[in-house]
Structures are given as structure tokens and as C-alpha cells.
Symmetry: C2
Subunit: 233 residues, 2 copies
């Protein structure tokens, strides 16, 4: 067992919160902490799902490729997020999405066996998983509602959401090195379009990018744009 497991406050992860700490070892039995480098692939859509995982550090993206190979990003995972927890329910589970890390990251990789043994019959845990799934669902629905709105609205929404979810405290810098390509893949647009928008916003002092770290200087204005109240330029 890797020592890192003890070092991390597992019982503070959202899906374990409130549980009897003594029951946790059972839930992560066979779990191995795995570090991944930037852009390293954890698994690919279509592979058999032999493990699920909990994000410990960094960030991961869940995505799929369309016919022409373009990536479509479904979700950005931050510490505490379960990965592949939902697919475990199936008999012969197959990952519906691919997963790769953004920046150096770490997951706790837990064999499916542990799921069937310790999770599948624990109503409390199942409700927890359900709830996280529900939130992810609402989130993806939020994005769908935005589908018809102008690109500026979608990008502004994404950035605001990421800032809210990722940043601890009142930090205004996204702690994850997200590229403009990834932003484009997430909102369903091209890099060029995203760049044009963000360049404009940088010029207006709303954003600032340094070493791939995106700083949101004027969250208020970004939210205005996200809500379609942007003053006509």
C-alpha cells in the first residue's frame, strides 16, 4: 500500500464525508494511488472498466471523440470527484468516455471487485454516488441550455463555472492549466474562435493569462457576459 494513502484526508472527500472513518479502508480495498503526468491517459472509451477511481490531486478530463476525431469534453474532474463510479453498475462495464489528466495529477484506483463487495450493497454510499451523478447531470444540462446562445456566453459560463468549482477560497486564478483547445472542445467550438474571444477580453482587462494559468480579473464582467447582459461593443 502506498504511503500517500494515509497522508491524504480521504474521509474528507465529498463521497465519504460523514461516514464512519473506520469503514473507509474497506471501501478502498485494493486501491492504489497512481500518479499521472500531464496528458497521460487513464483509460479510453470502449475499454472494459476494471477499475473506478477517486481524484486525489490535480485534474482530469472526461471526453469522447467524434467521427472525425475531434475531442468533445464532457467533464472536468477535480479532487474528490469519482471517475467511472457509475459504469460499475453494469454487468460487463465499458467506459463510456476517455479520461486523461490535465497537469500532473493523482487518482486512487480501486478495482471493480471492491465496488461489488463493499459499495454495491451500501445504500448510503449508493445515494452519495447518485447525488454526485445527479449534480453532474444537472451540470451537463446547464451546458445544453447554453447550446444555442452565442459563443461568448458559453465560454464565459465555462470559465466562471470552472473558477467557482476549482478555486479554493477567493483565488481568481484557475489552478489547472487548461488550454484554449480544451475550452473549445468543452463548449463545442474551434480554438480560433475561443482565442479571438479571450484575446478581446484580455484587452479589456477581464482576463489575464500567464504560463497557461488563466486569471479572471473581472469576474463581474465575465458573469455579465455569461448572462447575456454584455454591453454591446
Amino acid at each position: 500500500m502506498p504511503s500517500s494513502k494515509d497522508a491524504l484526508p480521504l474521509n474528507e472527500l465529498p463521497c465519504f464525508k460523514g461516514l464512519d472513518p473506520k469503514s473507509i479502508p474497506e471501501l478502498i480495498q485494493g486501491g492504489i494511488a497512481r500518479s499521472t503526468k500531464h496528458r497521460e491517459v487513464l483509460f479510453r472509451a470502449g475499454e472494459g472498466a476494471s477499475h473506478f477511481a477517486l481524484v486525489l490531486l490535480g485534474a482530469y478530463k472526461l471526453f469522447r471523440n467524434d467521427l472525425s476525431g475531434h475531442e468533445s469534453i464532457m467533464h472536468f474532474c477535480s479532487p474528490g470527484d469519482p471517475i467511472g463510479g457509475l459504469v460499475m453498475l453494469n454487468e460487463s462495464p465499458i467506459y463510456p468516455v476517455s479520461c486523461s489528466s490535465i497537469g500532473p495529477s493523482m487518482v486512487l484506483r480501486i478495482p471493480r471487485e471492491t465496488w461489488t463487495k463493499a459499495w454495491a450493497n451500501n445504500a448510503h454510499l449508493l445515494r452519495r454516488v447518485n447525488q454526485m451523478l445527479y449534480q453532474r447531470m444537472v451540470h451537463i444540462q446547464d451546458e445544453k441550455v447554453l447550446q444555442r446562445l452565442p459563443l461568448a456566453v458559453r465560454v464565459a459560463s465555462l470559465l466562471a463555472t470552472l473558477l467557482e468549482r476549482y478555486s479554493r477560497g477567493s483565488e481568481s486564478v484557475l489552478p489547472v492549466p487548461i488550454t484554449r483547445q480544451e475550452i473549445a472542445d468543452s463548449v463545442g467550438a474551434t480554438v480560433e474562435s475561443v482565442i479571438r474571444l479571450m484575446s478581446e477580453w484580455t484587452g479589456e482587462g477581464i482576463l489575464h493569462t500567464e504560463a497557461r494559468q488563466i486569471e479572471i480579473i473581472r469576474l463581474d464582467r465575465l458573469l455579465q457576459i455569461a448572462h447575456g447582459e454584455a454591453p454591446v461593443t
Copy 2:
């Protein structure tokens, strides 16, 4: 208790399949079958979720409205689908979507109490619900992947999916009166664009519409379009 409840083979609904038939009455305690007319609203996004429901007959759409009031359709529900089952897990649940019927339909409306009493601690049922939720998630992800592809691909995909999901047997007519506006709201486009496409397809003998019933004559060609293999016109 309405007599219709006994008339319907509840134990054949996907979420009850395989359960001990004797346990079912407990699961639908307080449930009332409710008929709804075409376009009747079952609940609105933002309302407190006092009930969940199972679709018995007909169809329902789950949707949300964007800033400017446009509808965005998240899901079409067919018989057996649970409605609002996921949101039940929250403390003070609030519907994340609105729901209205398409054509005359019927649901079994079950009070939240029954959920907390009979469902919340039943691991088997929770897994079932989880699984249906999972499928809905995969489906909405499928749609997101299509987001960047041409409208023709998205509409063709939707029609093919609906046919597959809704039609019993090898029927080629969608048994639900879906309007072009609803198709547009589902794929994130305007009515006019959808009409132009479908008119063209009707001209080519792929589709046929009569009394708002859409018949898919050449599923093979529709699938070609959906897969981006459409011969250049």
C-alpha cells in the same frame, strides 16, 4: 386507488423487472395514476419536488428554458421511464427541469415519502435507478458529441434514436406526435432549419409525415446521414 394500476403490468417496467412482485405495492404506496392531456404540464423547473413518477403510457418531455425563453429539450420519456427519481435524493428537492406530456399520456405519481421509506434504503432499487440515470447520462453525452457536427447529422441521429427507443417491433412510425419545433429544441436549432431538412428528406423518400406522425421509410439512408456518410447532394 384507480383501477388502472392493476391493469398495467407494473412488474414488467424496467425498474421493477426481476423484483419480487409482492414487494411492488410497497414501492408505489400512495401512487396515483394521472392522465395528462397533450401539452399538459406535470411540473415546472424550480418547483419543490414533492413527487416522482413512472411513465405508464404515452410520452413526456423534460426541458428547460434559456434566458430568452426558448425551450431546450433534455429528454423524451417513454413508458417505464422514471421521472424525477434522481432529484429525490436531495434534502429539499427541487425539479431541475420542467415536464409536460406529448400527446395524451399517463404517469404513476408517487409521493416523496414513499421514496424515503421504501426506495432510499433498498440497494437493489438504488442500483436500478442509478443504471437508468447512467443510461440517460450516456445519451446526453452522445448528443454533446454531435454538437459540432452539421445539423443534418444531429436531426438524423435524433430521429433514428427515437425510432429505436419508441417503436415496438419493426414499426417505422414514431408513435408519438413530435413537432418540428420539438425536434429543433432537442438538437439546438431553429424550426425553420429543421423543416428545410425534413422537407428535403421527404422529397427524397426518406421520410413521410402524416397527421404529425413521422414515418421513417428509409432508415438505412437516415443512418448514413447520421454517420456523416451522406452522399453529397
